[in-house]
Amino acid sequence: MPPEPAAAALTPGTPAAPAVAAPQLAPVAAPAPLPAAPAANGLLATLRRHPPALIGAGVLLAIAVLALAAPLLFPGDPLAITGAPFLWPGTSLAHPLGTDSLGRDILAGLAHGARVSLGIGFAAAGLGLVVGIALGALAGYLGGWVDAVLSQLIEIFQTLPSFVLLVVLVSIAQPTTATLSGAIALVTWPMVARLARAECRSLREKDFVLAARSLGYGHLRILVHEILPGALPPIIVTASVLVASAILMESALSFMGLGDPNTVSWGSMIGQGREYLRSAWYMSALPGLAITLTVLALNLLGDALNEALNPRRKGTRR
């Protein structure tokens, strides 16, 4: 423990320090928030202790590698016709997972589709997290009319049925990877903001924040250096679930033909296979399995993260 709390709080790059120092400033302080560094260690420990989470991480890594290596493994346009149509999986060495109604290789489609699905999933979740944390932190920290306005905005966006709003947004803007990510982020941020607001609201009353304020620190500095390090861990754990739901939303949109028409995505592959359910159901089944596997991996990881970083959820008696 640092001997001089004020000095520790002044040092940039030690975000966890104020939380640790708080009890020294005031011996009767409420329990300090979970410091970030031990939480990260806890995360690794949890991953080791939870085989399902390890499996999830492994699967996700494999899919990410497949997505990154897609242009090397399957050079050329995945939308190009490379063989006879309607080849069932396992019937051709050149097309291990078969071909679709036009003779396009399904494995190549899955690999290139992984780029789109993971890309949009991570971009949308990342954007939603950044916007949600920024607005939620402002609302929770500043309070007053800023909080009133932002809370109302959050309420409005949480009331709008997100998938219907998504369909409206995508049909107004031309669907590209960027607009899809933006639209999904737009329906994602309120959940994050709500969480961030609650965290920052409870943290701003803590003694170490009062101490920082009495030292004359500006709002921005207090928010970034004192409050966010404590508020972030419970929000960050939602990231993997956010990515999972973004992937599900993107695939549902492309399935309905509302995705980017110039790229191949898992959802659009399922949509194209839909007309051939009777004769060639594998065309829809395989990309769906890819989505399920990815989302399952993210959810397994999310469960473990939640347990490791979210102290409140640990209350389940076992």
Partner: protein, 332 residues
């Protein structure tokens, strides 16, 4: 029950007061989304007519009031809404309100049934899991729940069609009733139910997983409470303890979450209705997107938001019924 009434009325009043700014905000947001949409009603009209001279389009624009300042248009839009007028659908050539009200019952039926099915299945599975906590059944069901939680609803809808309609031939793959069969009577009802099984299942499975997990945690937590020990010490039967003391408390968070899911259900219905050709708002939304009819789309967005607000209000009131502490702080 009678003494509940003033308290419940107060809860309802507070809820309505809180919902008002949200509703206004959503309407204004909807208006601006409509402004962002490419092409206005006059363009659509010109397109439908196979092209029109600029003068005629301008006249049309004037007729619809599209050349007025934004503020005036917003005022006209709001006053129309206040009279239940959502505008005219260029694609279907009928009032939007008419279109939406025609499809509303189908969507409500589908979503409400799916929600009820998911709740019942979730409570049963969650209670089972909690009763076998840590043992094989609990673990197996947890894995199943996680899997259901990860399935895309539109994909499971297609796979259900493959298995139950194409392979087994047990259930129809689309539509709402058999054409030619009488729509009323017992036979008609059974026929309709057959058409509902797959869409309801596709929509509900995801929520079954969520509710089962929630109920499991809720029951396990409630079982360790002092009042349960007291109830047991009083000699109440396990069944009575479970229903009156454990579930009643475990279900409170469930109602909140289920209320929040009404909007998600309506959104999920867009995809599921499109797949099964179910005559509801979701399919209408899809048709509106394809026909680039933004007024219909906006109408659906507004109406489904209204349904969400109503559902949240109902949940607030339900909390008042289930939990006597809610809203009691202002009691005289």
């Amino acid at each position: 029950m009678k003494r509940h009434l003033p308290r419940l009325a107060r809860i309802a009043g507070n809820t309505a007061l809180r919902a008002l700014p949200t509703a206004v905000g959503i309407v204004i947001l909807g208006f601006f989304l409509l402004q962002l949409a490419p092409g206005d009603a006059a363009d659509v009209w010109a397109g439908e007519a196979g092209g029109a001279p600029a003068q005629a389009t301008a006249a049309m624009r004037h007729h619809f009031g599209l050349d007025r300042p934004l503020g005036a248009q917003l005022a006209a839009y709001l006053s129309g809404l206040a009279h239940g007028d959502l505008g005219w659908s260029a694609r279907f050539d009928v009032p939007v309100t008419h279109l939406i009200l025609e499809r509303l019952p189908g969507s409500l039926l589908l979503s409400a049934t799916a929600l009820v099915v998911a709740l019942v299945a979730g409570v049963v599975l969650g209670t089972l899991m909690a009763a076998h906590e840590g043992r094989l059944l609990d673990r197996a069901l947890s894995v199943v729940a996680l899997l259901l939680y990860s399935l895309p609803s539109f994909w499971i809808a297609l796979m259900l069609i493959v298995v139950f309609s194409i392979r087994l031939g047990w259930l129809p793959s689309g539509g709402a009733h058999t054409i030619g069969l009488p729509e009323s009577g017992l036979a008609g009802l059974a026929d309709r139910l057959r058409y509902m099984v797959l869409p309801v299942l596709s929509l509900a499975l995801f929520y079954v997983a969520i509710y089962a997990r929630l109920v499991r945690v809720g029951v396990i937590e409630a079982k360790a409470q002092d009042y349960v020990r007291t109830a047991r010490a009083k000699g109440l039967s396990e069944r009575r303890i479970l229903v009156r003391h454990v579930l009643r408390n475990a279900l409170l968070p469930l109602t909140t979450v289920a209320g929040m899911h009404v909007g998600a259900m309506l959104g999920g219905a867009v995809v599921v209705e499109t797949i099964y050709g179910w005559p509801g708002l979701g399919r209408l939304a899809f048709e509106a997107v394809m026909g680039r009819d933004f007024r219909v789309l906006l109408g659906i967005l507004l109406l489904s938001s209204l349904l969400v607000i109503l559902a949240n209000a109902l949940v607030d009131i339900l909390h008042g019924v289930l939990d006597p502490r809610v809203g009691a702080s202002h009691a005289a």
